[in-house]
């Protein structure tokens, strides 16, 4: 594809870059440090005498042993100041997803349709309680049941559980299913104790088998960006209980040998899990089942457009092939032709991985998203996401020093880039560049999961959400920041300058002696 002269001019034009962007920034203390003793936001009403005469002192109704000896240390702040406090905090954050591009790769940051928020906000949903009689919640049960059908169609598998509350819990549940399956086959940990993964797979992929008692075999990529079949074969043995990989993984590369690899694992008696966190690269175009996998999980808060950030809420449903359905978590939603109900009679189940039925608010939003798109719409999501990523690639490749990591040409939804040349020539590393990119009104760009085996990494993922103009703006900002590395490196090294968050030296982020996870620790650090 050749860029037209007009497009080139637009990309180069400085007007594309928002020099004037400033995030609201307040030097706002913690709520505990506001107000003064005795100050109140709300004054509780005294109990009326008539009632008191009947019930006595309400405190007498509580067992003495659970009464506090000292009052709780709560903030004492008047209502106007409290209102200002939260307005200021929200000004630093509000609408970040709508006012800036958010190229946080591997997190698939996409637009969260506000109409779906409305659906999830309705009291018809929010007033439900998980302990209600099934007869009274047939509506939400129907939605959940039908959403399972969507996931079956998307993966090719016959059974689904919506219970896991996040991606890592989904991976963990699948790992427990492998363990139960192998034990039922007579392959306990004394016979099959190894799980294979790749170094570019998401961190939960090696962590959950380790939690489940397995040894983890990690494959490193070749110059192609993915491990050769030979490496997989060196890893596979009679001790292989299973394999978990992303395909594509965070390099955006689809392993072309995946069918041969899954077959080799099956031949050794292992099961194959596809980590579908990168589903934006193949929605509606490829399915886990046809690639030879036996189970998968999704991150609804990534691929399915439900909001995420700040650690939740998420949802990590799983899907498995027919003979593995008996291991799914309890309870399982079923339909007898007339009514939807929870089936607790699953003697082979791995058990409960989360109380009740999953993060239903997230599931409801994801259901609305898939329903609004339909099958063709989902295919279009992937088409647009891949097109956007490759358009961004074309723009970024023209910037000196910005290089695609690994040789494989075809990339799907994202690419891991390396900025080694810029670092070598200017001393500015990719984390400092990412912080500077934020100064132009763009959300955080993802560097890489650990370990950083691509040096000076950067992984933007434009998703289907962003327009051509927004992608061009992002590329122009990266170009500007690279130029700054050569012209005014100190500005980049001390970025961000325009965000609510100030510059935080990278090394302190990993120094437990400098991190305050709560106010008590913060106060101690202040005294030092």
């Amino acid at each position: 594809m050749n860029l037209t002269q007009k497009t080139k001019e637009r990309i180069d034009a400085k007007r594309m870059i928002n020099d004037r962007w400033r995030q609201s920034k307040w030097l706002e203390p913690l709520v505990y440090d506001l107000g003064s003793p005795g100050e109140r936001g709300i004054i509780a009403v005294e109990l009326e005498e008539e009632i008191r005469n009947v019930v006595g002192d309400p405190l007498d109704l509580l067992p003495k042993e659970i009464l506090r000896k000292t009052p709780p240390h709560l903030p004492e702040v008047g209502q106007p100041r409290l209102m200002k406090h939260y307005v200021r905090l929200s000004q630093e954050l509000t609408c970040e997803d709508n006012t800036t591009m958010f190229p946080l790769g591997t997190c698939t940051m996409k637009y969260n349709p506000k109409s779906h928020e409305r659906i999830a906000e309705t009291p018809r949903f929010t007033e439900l309680h998980p302990r209600q009689d099934e007869k009274t919640v047939q509506g939400i049960l129907e939605i959940m049941y039908k959403f399972q059908d969507y996931l079956k169609a998307i993966s090719g598998f016959s059974s689904v559980s919506l219970q896991p509350a996040c991606g890592s819990q989904g991976v963990f549940t699948n790992m427990r299913i492998i363990r139960s399956y192998q034990e039922d086959k007579g392959f306990g940990m004394d016979k099959k104790d190894e799980i294979i993964t790749t170094v570019f797979s998401h961190p939960s992929n090696p962590a959950t088998p380790a939690m489940s008692g397995y040894k983890v075999i990690t494959l490193y990529p070749d110059e192609t960006g993915f491990p050769s079949v030979e490496k997989f074969k060196a890893a596979i043995s009679e001790r292989t209980a299973g394999m978990i990989i992303g395909c594509p993984d965070d390099t955006g590369i689809y392993n072309p040998n995946i069918m041969e690899i899954t077959k080799a694992v099956h031949d050794a008696g292992g099961l194959c899990i596809l980590d579908s966190a990168n589903a934006n690269g193949y929605f509606g175009w490829a399915r886990a089942k046809e690639a030879g996998f036996d189970m998968t999980h999704w991150n609804l808060h990534k691929s399915f457009s439900t909001p995420h950030g700040g650690a939740g809420p998420g949802a990590g449903p799983i899907a498995v092939r027919e003979d593995l359905a008996k291991y799914l978590p309890t309870p399982k939603i079923n339909f007898d032709g007339e009514r939807y109900y929870w089936d607790y009679n699953l003697p082979s189940s791995v058990g409960v991985v989360r109380p009740f039925f999953g993060n239903t608010g997230v599931i409801l939003r994801a259901f609305a998203w898939v329903t609004s798109l339909g099958g063709e719409g989902l295919r279009e999501v992937t088409q647009t996401a891949v097109l956007n990523n490759n358009y961004l690639r074309m723009l970024l490749e023209k910037i000196p020093g910005v290089q695609v990591a690994y040789e494989t040409k075809d990339r799907l939804h994202e690419i891991r880039w390396n900025l080694n040349q810029v670092y070598a020539e200017t001393g500015v590393n990719s984390f400092q560049m990412i912080a500077r990119i934020c100064d132009y009104g763009v959300g955080d760009t993802f560097p890489s999961h650990f370990p950083y085996i691509v040096e000076n990494p950067i992984t933007p993922e434009p998703t289907e959400t962003y327009s051509k103009e927004e992608i061009e703006e992002y590329a122009a900002i990266v170009k500007r920041v690279v130029e700054e590395c050569y012209e005014t490196p100190e500005i980049v090294m001390t970025a961000p300058h325009n965000s609510a968050m100030p510059h935080v030296p990278w090394e302190t982020m990993f120094d437990p002696t400098q991190i305050a996870p709560c106010r008590t620790v913060w106060l101690k650090l202040q005294k030092k």
Binding site: V216, I217, P221, E223, E230, K231, A234
Partner: protein
């Protein structure tokens, strides 16, 4: 016509196969010869120089007398310009410095030299970053990143530069360790300076990573725990050099040689700091044996760098399948392109070792890397 300087340190690497940890100093060289060591550096220099034969009519080789380059150049069919005349003594470090300076004065475009870390230091002392160089790996210790991955690659790299196909250069570290301290089991790596080399990362080995990070202790302990737990009875374990291998010996409470090979049987030390010859004699006993090695950080060599006692003949006797490779995750991540290398001196053994290999990286973790 382009002029290229060519220097061979004929004594480089002579201490390696007889467990002397290096070849610096006259006394060590004499001791090596007494122990039956043979000069392999000239052979490796010839393998590199052969790659320049296509440029025979376009380049002029400026070299040193006799075994320091003249003999090797002539054996490859070149008619070199020789600086000075023959000397009736063993060559010394000062000879390398003298000839390199002379070559600089004669405006050579680059220097191709064969040696180890000591030779690299001498070249650095003589020419600094005045002109590009290519190192042919021929020493015992090669912590410096400037060396090509093999003699052939060194020749190829020089060819690319001289034929104008790879003109970009970069500076890489010249490192060496204190050999006296090294023989006492203490690694004191020091950065001496930088040399300019043609910029082609696939041809050069990279600089050895310096030691383990703090959290590596966790992984080191895990590796040691796993190896010791899985040790079988009546099998000789030939435990290689480096701090990763040392952790295994420490786990068993055994004395060990940081930069040598120790032999363990039934969790007891049976031989310490063995030579290749001693190993071959030991293996004649007919017992099964296993080799435990770790790659050099930042480079990835598991054989042929600092552990020449584990020669191709030893590896053949032990069997390729009985080679256990260990490395912490951070060491693996320090390896260029996460690859392992071998340079046993015998092409056939090198190719038998090549391919995917399991590397034990923690108590319950294994990485699969490729030996290239």
């Amino acid at each position: 016509m382009k002029k290229i300087g060519f220097i061979v340190n004929p004594l480089a690497g002579i201490g390696g196969s007889v467990a002397l940890k290096g070849s610096d100093g006259e006394e060590i060289v004499e001791r090596a010869f007494e122990l039956g060591a043979v000069c392999k550096s000239p052979e490796r220099a010839i393998s590199a120089l052969k790659k320049l034969q296509p440029l025979k009519d376009k380049i002029e080789i400026v070299t040193c007398p006799e075994e320091m380059g003249e003999n090797e150049a002539k054996s490859c069919g070149f008619l070199p310009v020789v600086i000075g005349s023959s000397f009736q003594r063993r060559t010394q470090a000062s000879d390398t410095i003298h000839f390199a300076k002379e070559m600089l004065a004669r405006n050579v475009e680059m220097i191709l030299f064969a040696g180890g870390d000591g030779t690299a230091r001498d070249i650095y002392d003589a020419v600094g970053t005045e002109l590009p160089v290519v190192g042919i790996p021929a020493g015992t210790k090669m912590h410096s990143g400037i060396y090509a991955t093999s003699p052939e690659d060194a020749g190829e790299l020089a060819f690319l530069y001289l034929s104008g196909k790879q003109l970009k250069v970069k500076e890489l570290e010249v490192m060496d360790i204190d050999e006296e301290a090294f023989r006492r089991g203490v690694v004191k790596a020091k950065l001496y300076g930088y040399l300019k080399i043609p910029d082609a990362p696939n041809f050069t080995q990279g600089t050895k990573g310096g030691g383990h990070q703090a959290d590596d202790q966790f992984y080191l302990k895990g590796i040691a725990e796993r190896i010791v737990t899985e040790m079988e009875q009546d099998i000789f374990y030939l435990v290689g050099s480096g701090t990763t291998c040392r952790a295994i010996m420490e786990k068993m409470g055994l004395e060990n040689t940081l930069l040598g090979v120790d032999v363990v049987l039934n969790k007891k030390l049976v031989m310490k700091d063995v030579t290749e010859h001693q190993l071959l004699e030991l293996l004649e006993q007919g017992k099964q044996s296993k080799i435990i090695v770790t790659p050099i950080g930042g480079q990835g060599y598991i054989f042929g760098r600092g552990n020449q006692q584990l020669s191709s003949r030893v590896i053949r006797k032990v069997g390729i399948k009985n080679v256990l490779v260990i490395a912490t995750p951070s060491k693996i991540q320090s390896l260029p392109q996460h690859r392992l290398h071998v340079d046993t001196g015998e092409k056939e053994v090198d190719s038998m070792l090549k391919g995917a290999v399991r590397v034990i990286s923690a108590l319950n973790e294994v990485a699969v890397l490729e030996i290239v």
